[in-house]
């Protein structure tokens, strides 16, 4: 059964210390508000995973939430380094973290194996690189056919205890619709034991059922649904608000030191109770700047049969 609730309740109900937590959304619909809530609830021993850790993992790592990180690109996109991630890996600050890394293709293949209950999936990457030497999860399988290649790399399933994803809209049953970059959302949801879905808008079931091809995660795999407008800020939601690039650039400055991040967290995460309070602290002008002009998709007729 899917429960409609708020993020504080969804996180505390779904997530236990020691869990593997995956935050879905490839460069789009990143669950920032959810990550902030995890920080606020002071988890200390999570194995966190994302293809693109982005600023949210920098914050969770600096806050001491993580003991291990699974990822494929740990950068501040378009800006540079993820400084807290680097400090943890290079200097063990605020605590050492284990890393488990892949290429993007390797990462999404692990989620896909997890989503479809396969012991492994083959893929044409890693050969000729140094990854297999440093990651025992990447193995080789012989090709049983008379074709090339004779052996091929495989990766095993990744099955998060909890996946948190976002969507533009869903109904109360958790049937979620996304447009724009859909990324790893479907695989991350199907691979997980427990799924928390946060949406820009909770809509009537009729809205979802009017366009079933748009549903990328079915309610039957969703456990908690949270309505949380602007919950991806400073990431974006296609058609709802743009990426706040200024915030990404500013993070490069804020994250120069662990202390700088701690101050930021005190003000923007620990210092507020909910994501709504966080939004209150933003300038109105930011909301206006980030709002795209409308640009509707040409309608389709599904037909009344």
């Amino acid at each position: 059964m899917t429960v409609v609730t708020d993020m504080a309740d969804a996180v505390s109900s779904a997530l236990s210390e020691g869990d593997m937590l995956y935050l879905g959304g490839f460069t789009h619909l990143i669950p920032f508000a959810a990550g902030h809530e995890v920080i606020r609830q002071e988890y200390e021993d999570l194995h966190i995973g994302r293809a693109t850790p982005d600023l949210i993992f920098d914050r969770m790592i600096a806050a001491g939430c993580a003991s291990e990180v699974t990822f494929s690109y740990a950068g501040n996109p378009g800006v540079g380094s993820l400084r807290a991630f680097r400090r943890a890996v290079e200097e063990g600050v605020p605590n050492p973290i284990e890393i488990d890394e892949y290429s993007h293709f390797g990462m999404i293949s692990r989620l896909s194996a997890g989503a479809q209950n396969l012991p492994f999936v083959p893929l044409r990457t890693f050969v000729g690189s140094d990854y297999p030497e440093h990651n025992d999860h990447i193995r080789m399988v012989e090709n049983p056919y008379e074709s090339e290649p004779e052996e091929i790399p495989v990766v095993p399933p990744l099955n998060p205890d909890v996946t948190i994803i976002r969507a533009q809209r869903a109904d109360e049953n958790g049937n979620a619709q996304v447009w724009g970059i859909t990324g790893d959302i479907t695989e991350a949801a199907f691979a997980a034991d427990t799924v928390v879905l946060a949406v820009e808008e909770l809509v009537d079931e009729d809205v979802i059922r009017s366009d079933p091809n748009r549903t990328i995660v079915p309610g039957s795999v969703v456990d908690y649904v949270v309505e949380e407008p602007y919950g991806s800020h400073p990431s974006y939601a296609q058609g709802y608000y743009d990426r706040d690039n200024q915030a990404y650039i500013e993070w490069d400055e804020i994250s120069q030191t662990q202390e700088g991040i701690e101050e930021w967290l005190d003000e923007w995460v620990y210092g507020v109770e909910t994501h709504a309070d966080y939004l209150e602290k933003l300038d109105t002008g930011q909301f206006i700047d980030l709002l795209p002009k409308s640009n509707y998709a040409t309608p389709i007729d599904v037909g009344d049969y």
Binding site: T52, S72, Y73, R124, T125, D130, T182, Y248
Partner: protein, 255 residues
């Protein structure tokens, strides 16, 4: 004589590598500018694919990341991440791809993972992202980078993205598609010889052989008919400065 920055030269030179019917996997920054430049100048049908799954993007403004919403609006398609890698990249539909990295060796192997020891790194870099996948499955890859000894060691600390591995034969035996086609720096343009080793094809105006040798970690060789890199024309510079990067995000500085 048109004035141009190093970056502008790199953009215009890289753009020349793209053909009208290519499907290119675009990176952000300079590669993105090079692709958009090619599309506006000589390759109007160039299909730009981003590793976020946007297909035939037509960005109205410069995207800061490979996943910006401007890559979706007015695109020909958007596919889930898995499908982008499986059908487009591994399926063999990507003709050209751009790669960057902290270190490139003489076989075009690239490191964007770590400086120093993997388990006890001096500098931890972002990692592969799609780079290893692109390097393994694209017909022609291009590397755009600044030129220094630090960036061009004889051997990289970690192979994130295989080039010719230990030579063209080595790559072929591993069953990898294509390989590195050109390296474009702020000093020169390098190609790869029959054995898969990097050599200098052209020097940028004002750059000497010694400048390149000093900035390369091994005794790089030079083409017998070593030429000079063609420079941007006035129209090209205007396109970059007025249209593609009006805020000078990438072209404002020369590195």
């Amino acid at each position: 004589m048109v004035e141009y920055t190093d970056t502008e030269l790199m953009i215009t030179r890289a753009a020349r590598e793209l053909k009208n019917d290519d499907t290119v996997l675009v990176g952000v920054g300079v590669p993105n500018l090079a692709c958009n430049y090619a599309k506006r100048r000589h390759a109007p049908d160039l299909e730009m694919v981003y590793e976020s799954g946007t297909i035939d993007s037509n960005p109205s403004k410069l995207p800061l990341s490979i996943g910006d919403p401007v890559l979706v609006t007015n695109a020909g398609g958007v596919v889930p991440m898995l499908q982008g890698f499986q059908h487009y990249l591994q399926g063999g539909h990507i003709d050209a791809g751009f790669l960057g990295g902290a270190q490139i060796d003489k076989y075009g192997n690239i490191n964007s993972t770590v400086i120093g020891d993997y388990d006890d790194p001096d500098v931890r870099l972002p990692g592969s992202g799609g780079a290893c996948d692109i390097a393994s499955n694209t017909d022609r890859t291009f590397i755009i980078t600044s030129h220094s000894e630090r960036r061009f060691p004889e051997e990289v600390d970690f192979v994130t993205s295989p080039g010719y591995v230990d030579g063209r034969e080595g790559r072929e035996e591993l069953g990898l598609r294509g390989g590195p086609e050109a390296v474009i720096t702020d000093k020169a343009v390098m190609k790869f010889d029959e054995g898969g080793e990097m050599y200098v094809e052209t020097l940028h105006p004002g750059v000497t052989r010694e400048d390149v040798l000093d900035a390369t970690g091994w005794e790089i060789s030079f083409a017998d008919d070593l030429g000079e890199t063609p420079t941007p024309d006035a129209e090209g510079i205007e396109l970059i400065r007025e249209d593609l990067d009006p805020d000078g995000v990438y072209t404002g500085t020369s590195d």
